[in-house]
């Protein structure tokens, strides 16, 4: 609740910040202060069980501990994102403050989604997240790729919103309420209307989380958008979409789990296969990361498939692991001259600490033990096994994980085992280096003690 208010207010403040803050650095700092404030308030709410500003939402919004932990993870990721990539936001366009404002508005949407208890709030939250994203995708206005990404994202995003609305309408027609609890109560038996609504919502949510076969927008949009916003989209926004997916299917459709889990399993399988296999082919790190985000979505789909305790706990861990790691890699990538793998050549020689941090991030993405990514994947697999019966899904998942090693390690190979042909002029500030190292330490700490997050829930 606090997060909604603070982010909205901070968004408005950011819009005007351009008038009284002159240097980009102070704008950047101002944004970081806002995030820190949000984190502090969310932590307060988590610890005390009460928000600072209590507003009666008539049951439309409700923040459980789970939601708050989720929100904190997202906010911490955003903080890291700001620290690591803030300078790139500055570089994207002249209207820096506006872009920051949009990010804060997106955070508002995220906070709404975190607490939604009604389909209305879900719809609104997702739209508040999506609409600024269309803009951010196209924020590099002079770049045709960015334009194209924005339009594609916009058209397909609206289309999927349409599908979702149709689904919501059908569900409403059957149940007569938008409240998740009411829907759950009315979901004792599967009527054709519910079935159709559920499928349409499944399709549109799959689109939002870029699960196959609704993933096609992902590579194009991620590739075309300014790298700094790709980073945001592929981590924080994706986490939110998954959170919404899981919460919706757990709270509203949980009773009919048996009826849709096979379908979700198929989606997860397709996502894993397509994401991992196609990523193998990519020559551009950015596009590779786009496919990798599809591949990771395949793993996260497993939690939607299982929706048990492991799935829910693990998904939060996954968000943290995935977001931290991806933000780190993208932060370095956005400073590179081009996005080809070769631009990473010899990084370990010129910038050993940066290379080490990227290495740890990549290991985490690949799910190597003692990084956060391992336990994240571990929980997904465990959740599926706990659910029973779908060993083939687990086996495919782990084999896909092994395939993912292939493309992540290509970057590692470039950094550590290849020499750069010419001296790369990329300069990294000490501040950035320390931030990267911090990020890496965070990943390792979570890899050794995942209970730091798990015990919160």
């Amino acid at each position: 609740m606090n997060a909604i208010i603070i982010s909205a207010v901070w968004g408005v403040l950011m819009m005007y910040a351009g008038f009284f803050l002159q240097s980009k650095r102070s704008i950047h700092l101002f944004a970081i202060v806002g995030i820190c404030l949000m984190i502090a308030c969310t932590a307060y709410e988590f610890l005390n069980g009460l928000p600072l500003f209590a507003i009666d939402t008539k049951g439309l919004l409700q923040y459980s501990n789970y939601a708050l932990v989720f929100l904190m993870i997202v906010l911490i990721s955003t903080l890291l994102y700001f620290i690591l990539s803030g300078s790139e936001i500055d570089a994207t366009g002249k209207s820096t403050t506006d872009l920051y404002a949009l990010v804060f508005f997106i955070l508002t949407g995220i906070a709404v989604v975190a607490g939604f208890r009604s389909l209305l709030m879900l719809f609104l939250g997702i739209e508040i997240v999506s609409i600024p994203l269309y803009v951010l995708a196209g924020s590099d206005k002079s770049n045709l790729k960015s334009n194209e990404a924005a339009l594609k994202y916009f058209l397909m995003g609206s289309f999927s919103s349409g599908l979702m609305l149709m689904g919501i309408a059908l569900i409403y027609g059957d149940v007569g309420s938008f409240y998740l609890d009411a829907i759950r109560a009315g979901f004792g038996m599967l009527t054709p209307m519910k079935g159709a609504g559920l499928l349409l919502i499944l399709a549109s949510m799959s689109f939002k989380v870029s699960a196959a076969p609704f993933h096609f927008w992902t590579p194009d949009v991620y590739d075309g958008s300014p790298t700094v916003f790709t980073s945001f989209m592929s981590t924080i926004v994706k986490s939110v979409a998954f959170y919404a997916f899981l919460t919706l299917f757990d709270h509203a459709f949980g009773k009919l789990h048996e009826h849709w889990k096979l379908l979700v399993a198929i989606i997860a399988l397709a996502t894993l296969l397509i994401g991992n296999i196609t990523a193998v082919f990519q020559q551009s790190v950015k596009r590779m990361l786009a496919y990798s985000s599809i591949a990771q979505a395949g793993f996260m789909m497993l939690s939607v498939f299982a929706i048990n305790t492991f799935a829910k706990q693990g998904l939060l861990l996954y968000f943290a692991a995935y977001s931290f790691a991806t933000v780190g890699v993208f932060a370095v990538l956005s400073k590179m001259k081009d996005h080809s793998i070769d631009s990473f050549n010899g990084l370990s020689k010129s910038n050993p600490f940066i290379a080490l941090s990227v290495l740890i991030s990549l290991l985490s993405l690949a799910g190597i033990p003692l990084t956060a990514g391992f336990f994240a994947k571990y929980y997904m697999l465990l959740a599926v096994i706990r659910e029973g019966g779908m060993v083939w899904l687990v086996v495919t998942a782990v084999i896909c994980a092994a395939v993912s090693v292939y493309y992540y390690f290509r970057v590692i190979q470039a950094m550590y085992f290849k020499d750069s042909a010419e001296a790369d002029g990329t300069e990294f500030s000490p501040y950035f280096k320390w931030a990267m190292v911090l990020n890496a330490i965070l990943i390792i700490v979570l890899g050794i003690h995942p209970d730091l997050i798990l015990n919160l829930i």
């Binding site: 909205a8 008539k58 508005f105 709030m121 803009v135 770049n143 027609g173 009527t191 209307m193 159709a196």
Partner: protein, 174 residues
């Protein structure tokens, strides 16, 4: 046949016909106009369903504001029918077939629903009733939607603002 039923069929026919014309008109301007017809027909349906407030809003917001915006943009771009080259035949065919089969499947899967819309009068569609609910139970989403508008506004400004370095040479960025 009661008058409402006649009206229902007439409005439905108009809506579907107009919708088909929207997608099959070559000229975007015609599409816009036909879409306005659809909206009017739908507004008619709202009235039939005792949702008078929504009927009005639909006409004002959709037919009035949004469609005018569309028209404005189309005019701005000076589009006419010849400008749009045909999509490949196969693509079109595939689109129609899949759209049609989706419809068939939806209809087939929904045809068992037998609930009947009752004929009793209710005041929920009136502005008074809706307004009260909106500002009591739904005030939070209402406020939040302001953020939505705000962000849309900021976004439109960001995208619409002309930047100095934009020129015609940016094709080189391909």
């Amino acid at each position: 046949m009661p008058i409402t039923e006649i009206l229902f069929w007439a409005l439905s026919a108009a809506a579907i016909l107009a919708a088909l014309l929207v997608i099959f008109s070559k000229n975007p301007v015609h599409s816009v106009l036909w879409l306005i017809v659809v909206f009017f027909a739908i507004s008619g349906h709202y009235v039939l369903l005792n949702a008078q407030f929504l009927a009005i809003v639909n006409m004002i917001v959709y037919a009035g504001a949004i469609m005018v915006l569309f028209l404005f943009v189309i005019m701005l771009m000076n589009m006419n029918a010849e400008q749009e080259p045909n999509k490949s035949k196969w693509m079109k065919l595939a689109g129609i077939i899949s759209g049609g089969s989706l419809m068939l499947i939806l209809v087939a899967s929904l045809k068992n629903s037998t609930a009947i819309a009752g004929g009793q009068d209710a005041g929920i569609g009136l502005i008074q009733q809706l307004g009260r609910t909106l500002f009591s139970d739904y005030v939070v989403p209402f406020e939040i939607s302001s953020i939505l508008f705000l962000s849309a506004m900021v976004g439109a400004i960001i995208l619409g603002k002309k930047e100095k370095n934009m020129n015609e040479t940016n094709f080189s960025k391909f």
